[in-house]
Amino acid sequence: MSADKKAGLNRRAFLKVSTGVAAAGAGIALPGKGFAAGPKRLATLIDLSRCDGCPGKDMPACVGACKTINRDKIPKIHEPIPEPWPRKTIEDWSKKREVFNRLTPYNFIYVHQAEIEEGGQKRTVFVPRRCMHCDNPACATICPFSANHKYENGAVVIDQDLCFGGAKCKAVCPWEIPQRQSGVGIYLHILPSLAGNGVMYKCDLCNDRLEAGKLPGCIEACPQQAMLIGDRKEIYAQAEERAKAMKGFIYGKKENGGTATLYVSPVSFAALNGTMKKQPGRPDMGPAARRMAETDKMGKVVLQAPLYGIAAGVAGAFMALSRRKDRLKGGEGSHE
């Protein structure tokens, strides 16, 4: 048994250990029926010290598995795609489904290859990139149709039957993860040239598979066991443990207010980010503040607003009653 396996780094071993140790219900990452059932909060761990980008394969195994699982997800595209008005942006990836080196509506995960030079030594680090499944995802909370929702298990899922493809989720995501496919979705049945522009697509953590007790495709397919999924607390503890062991770094714990995806890396994320140029479908790994936090204080005042109304209404009414009483008294007095 390798040191890794002893430390519980093997995916299956991790799941088994979790099952044994946390059987009392602390949260178990159990492949099989009931894996994600119940309100268990899950998290995933991506260990960059283990990912090798799947050399010799046409595409990394995680990417291939994801593509296979989601191959028929997007319905047939309406031809011709209605031209939106007045801004005529159309995004059509239906004829480029094979693309796997960036995020597209047909590709929810890709692997970035980072060439790092550290201490005079060159090193290649492979970084699988997909939705981070944030703890408080603006993409979901401010979707005007609630087509994007965060489930109790932590998965942030877009309902393609409700999405209008306005790309608001992409605009508020620090990594601009969701990708649009025009010519598909509910907007076609309403006002296709005036409102909506397709459907947004991204990784949904294979939520259907989770509910069926299966692992997400990318995690199941990884030959290096570079990815784990399990109880959030245990994954967080694992990430800390691994980062400490490799004197490495963690990304995703605080970014965008916290996420359900933790990257553990032997090289700094600042160095990794230096190899990434943020461009469409290719997110960077820079610091990511949660912009929605700017509205939190005012949001709390909104929740208090009914109390302000009650206080002012009751006080105002009693003042008015008191004035009315005084007037009546004054009136009576004038007769004496």
């Binding site: 149709f145 608001k168 509205t295 949001g299 009914p306 009414a317 009546l328």
Partner: protein, 278 residues
Amino acid sequence: MSDKIINEKGLVVRHDLVELVEHWAIALSGLLLLVTGIFELPMANRYYITSLPGLSWSGDFIKSLYIHYAASVVFIAAAVFHLLYHGILGEGGMIPRRGDLKVSLEVMKSFFGKGKEPPFHKYLPEQRLAYVGMAFIIAMLILSGLVKTYKNLYAPDMSLTLVLWATWVHNVFFMLFILAFAAHIGAILLKPNRPMIRGIFMGTVRLDYARHRHPLWIKEMEPESPPRDEVKPEPVPGGEAAKDEIKEETGEDPPPPPVVVSEEAPQEELKEEPKKEP
């Protein structure tokens, strides 16, 4: 409510300061909510609203959400204030009365030259009906908005069923709010209703207009007796002199007259009018 006839100026006080502040707080914050709600759809960037001078922020969903929140503080507080303040004071002039629907139809027909409109109270019957409709729309917007805000702050993984209900109630009533707002503006622009516009800005309407169109309201404010300069120093029914007469005849105090709490102005006038003969 301090409805009062100001004969010397030829005006009638239709709304007091509290009512004006309530109306404009709800109207202006509601308008801001409506606009920022549209920006959240998202529409600003697509329709080049972001290119308009001073509106570049409209494409920033976080900024427009902040403004939406700020406006809703005023909107919610004003709506709750309105409900409690007038509820406690027992001011229900805008609550629909029996037969309002039928009379409303007659009034609307009269706008198109069919028939004559009946004499009105302070509010037109359709105003009372519209008030209840708008109040319901506002209540639903506030309730669903509060659920959505709570979700944004504390419960992003709230039950999807509840989130969908809150979202679609908010969206549907947002559309109804736009329609109700358009109908409100449309109604006030109708020629017979235009004299009321002054009321919502200044608090007063012209007395001749009120006498002509709202005689039932004027009747509530005016005493049964003729105007003051024509009043002869005679005891009025229920006045102190009358009380004395009853006491002399029966040896008992007469029962107190009913007090009309909401009609302050007539009471004030009545207070001055009954004069005891020396």
